[in-house]
Symmetry: C2
DNA sequence: GGTTGACCTGGAGCGCGCTCCAGGTTGTTG
DNA sequence: CAACAACCTGGAGCGCGCTCCAGGTCAACC
């Protein structure tokens, strides 16, 4: 058990990411701050770090590119005063996700039709009436 | 106007893909057959080619990797007898897409909550009752 | 206090899905 | 028939998002 915070392995585990990915996100400016270090130079993730990475994960896994996540992190890091800009980023992303969902849903319907076709073709002992 | 079929540029335009992508798909074995050529060696896409690429597009844009599309194309190309295998591929993909949709939807909800937070913070002249 | 495993950094490597290029042939239009 | 656009092939290049590696330090347990 650690004095405080989580090691990078513990954080990775909790977040469902790899330790490499965590270090990569930090290097690439996706985090709000450099993750604090213990005396040894090893990272000690705190609650606030984990929660931020959680948000990053949500943005990433809804398809936001790394570079946009970084721009958003830049805004938040800049501090109070640019909330309208942040809102813009989030709204644009939401709209993008909605468009994406709609498109996938449409394509999915077509694929399910195709599945139904094969199912019909492959159901020899289906009752017909 | 062409004697018959569509040039690669026309096909690309109709399908919303680039000509490079169309050639790439063909090279990579995603199509059911080599696209037929006119006397000059230029491709002439026929209805059946366009319809197949349309399906490929649906699979691709719902996230099926190129290699899986190729495996599916291989099955269809092999002719009658493997319908159960094709069905398997499609069903697995559908399930994958559904999982993906569920995940994105969940993340989206969290993002919308965050948007709402910013909206509240930025709405000074909101009526309170 | 020695060994073993976690962690560190900087940088290279990789799989994916295109996209672009060179160098050449063909089709079309004025 | 000249000029210019569209097409061809084989192969290189690229942006993305990690992932892995080397070479070294550190910690934690027996």
């Amino acid at each position: 058990m650690s004095s405080q915070g989580w090691s990078i392995a513990e954080a990775a585990d909790a977040l469902g990411l790899s330790v490499d990915t965590l270090r990569y996100y930090e290097r690439d400016g996706l985090l709000l701050r450099p993750v604090p270090r213990g005396g040894s130079g090893h990272r000690r993730y705190e609650e606030v770090d984990l929660r931020w990475v959680e948000l990053v994960t949500r943005l990433r896994s809804t398809g936001m590119p790394i570079r946009d996540v970084r721009r958003y992190a830049d805004l938040v890091r800049a501090g109070a005063g640019n909330e309208a800009d942040r809102l813009d980023v989030l709204r644009n992303h939401r709209d993008q996700v909605l468009r994406q969902l709609a498109e996938v849903t449409t394509h999915l319907a077509a694929i399910e039709t195709k599945i139904a076709t094969y199912e019909d073709r492959l159901a020899p002992r289906e009752k017909t009436a």
